[in-house]
């Protein structure tokens, strides 16, 4: 019984260690992108020193284990919630003109998941992978709408003004970011 209890407590220690290490490390990518409070930068610098004490192998093991059981799942809203990012398709042909469409998703849950996909697309840094992803999305749009000869994938931010700016009359607006243009070969 005593051995069992010691083993269980060891498991708990390992478990807590992995969750702490992974999730405290998880805040670092935000540092470069967002404006943090001065006090936060100092706190993070201390934490960074603590996490630097662990070898890459320990960090790797901890991240692998935490990916199973210990991701907090709250990262999207921390430290500051980002602007909404979305993708639209501009479909064109001579007879039907221009049509702006959403991805072909039907369920509410599917739409929530599509939002995650857009945000993940935004985060992809490798341009080749991003181009492949855009091509895949446009191919699917073409399968759903075969009569169109040109399909553009447009990414944009939905900028929400601050409360003060809103009171002064500013309103939310779409800010175009990237456009991927595809001309469909009529005789593939």
């Amino acid at each position: 019984m005593k051995t069992k209890k010691i083993l269980l407590l060891t498991f708990l220690f390992f478990h807590v260690f992995c969750i702490l290490l992974t999730n405290l490390l998880g805040v670092y990518p935000f540092r470069e992108k967002l404006e943090l409070r001065k006090a936060s930068e100092n706190t993070l610098a201390v934490l960074e020193k603590v996490t630097d004490c662990f070898s890459t192998e320990v960090k790797g093991l901890s991240q692998w284990y935490a990916s199973l059981v210990g991701i907090t799942g709250y990262g999207f809203f921390s430290p500051d919630p980002p602007y909404s990012y979305t993708i639209y398709f501009k479909l064109e042909n001579e007879e039907q003109g221009v049509s702006i469409q959403d991805p072909p998703i039907f369920s509410k849950e599917g739409k929530s998941r599509m939002t995650s996909a857009f945000n993940q697309f935004k985060e992809v840094e490798n341009e080749d992978v991003k181009n492949l992803m855009a091509q895949s999305m446009v191919t699917r749009m073409h399968e759903v709408n075969p009569s169109y000869s040109k399909i553009d994938l447009m990414t944009m931010f939905y900028i929400v003004p601050s409360m003060q700016e809103y009171r002064q009359g500013e309103r939310p607006y779409f800010a175009p970011r990237e456009t991927y243009e595809f001309i469909i070969d009529p005789n593939p």
């Binding site: 809203f77 909404s84 072909p104 895949s136």
Partner: protein, 324 residues
């Protein structure tokens, strides 16, 4: 002194408990995972299909060869004459069946293991589409494998005289997990400016993706989002301290659950909210669950429903004879 310290550690982690909360955790996790799965069904091919919106070969590009994915199963079934949609439906049906078995408590450890494998496969094959709730389902299934979740409210124990009690250790793991989740989340939020000045609440609720209610009037009352932002920080950072203190335990549990109800209503993240409520109730609402569904109470409830049903039937029979 030393002995009393070890005694209190022993008491804190290893006292015997009826663990009804773990059964609630098992049922809650299985039910929510089932709802999430069913709600995705109309878009199964678009999200997880080989030729979906994001093609499987692109999605699976960063996966290592040993990481489970849906194409392992769909390719196998395709070799036996199944179409892609049909084989996805088979995997979907299998996952749903295992979740159902887990929910009713048939071989809970084995079914949780199979569910975990399928959950990882779905997450890997739809890795661009996952969000917070998927990680909590994953953690929930992982705990269902390790914890004695099948000792109460389970068909697995029907007809067998099995021990219902076990150590409270497993509940403690859940509690510590939640404390870490909330504390780290609150800590992360506190690093920036937006949760302190209310802009986080404003931006999120006015954003395109989570806009389910028009809250533009909040711009004229900035103290409301500011107060909500500060409350969220207080609830999350204060969680590990106030939830373990007897006097504030139920107050903190209630406001945390209310916060998740708010997230469900205003951001439309119903499943995420439900899963967090299940985690909270299982970790800290054990006493409440015992009072509601404890020894004999479920049976009494079923009996009383049975009696009411019987009375209603006899009354309707009487009415029927009058009308005839």
């Amino acid at each position: 002194m030393k002995t009393s310290f070890f005694k209190s550690v022993d008491q804190f982690f290893f006292k015997v408990d009826n663990n009804l909360n773990l059964a609630f955790f098992r049922i809650g996790t299985a039910l929510i995972a089932m709802f999430i799965l069913i709600s995705q069904y109309p878009d199964l091919l678009e999200i997880y299909g080989q030729y979906g919106y994001l093609r499987a070969d692109i999605v699976e590009l960063p996966l290592l060869s040993f990481q489970p994915r849906l194409s392992w199963m769909t390719d196998f079934l395709a070799g036996h004459g199944f179409s892609e949609f049909m084989s996805l439906k088979v995997v979907f049906g299998l996952y749903l069946s295992f979740l159902f078995l887990l929910g009713i408590g048939i071989f809970p450890t084995l079914t949780a293991l199979l569910c975990l494998f399928l959950q990882i496969s779905f997450m890997n094959s739809g890795q661009y589409y996952i969000y917070g709730v998927d990680y909590f389902i994953l953690a929930g299934l992982f705990y269902c494998i390790l914890f004695p979740v099948g000792r109460q409210l389970s068909l697995n124990i029907l007809g067998k005289a099995r021990k219902k009690e076990s150590m409270i250790f497993f509940t403690r793991v859940l509690q510590i997990h939640l404390c870490l989740v909330y504390f780290i989340s609150g800590f992360d939020k506190g690093l920036g400016y937006d949760w302190w000045n209310g802009e986080a609440i404003w931006t999120t609720m006015m954003g395109l993706n989570f806009k389910s209610v028009d809250v533009s009037f909040l711009a004229d009352y900035p103290f409301i989002p500011k107060a909500i932002g500060w409350s969220v920080l207080l609830i999350e950072i204060g969680y590990p301290f106030f939830i373990f203190w007897k006097k504030t335990k139920y107050v903190w549990l209630s406001i945390t659950i209310l916060m998740h109800v708010g997230i469900g209503i205003f951001l439309g993240l119903y499943y995420f909210a439900a899963m967090m409520i299940v985690f909270n109730m299982a970790a800290f609402g054990g006493e409440l669950l015992k009072r509601s569904f404890g020894k004999g109470k479920t049976l009494n409830l079923i009996k009383s429903i049975g009696i009411k049903f019987f009375i209603r039937r006899t009354e309707s029979d009487k009415n029927a004879s009058i009308w005839i």
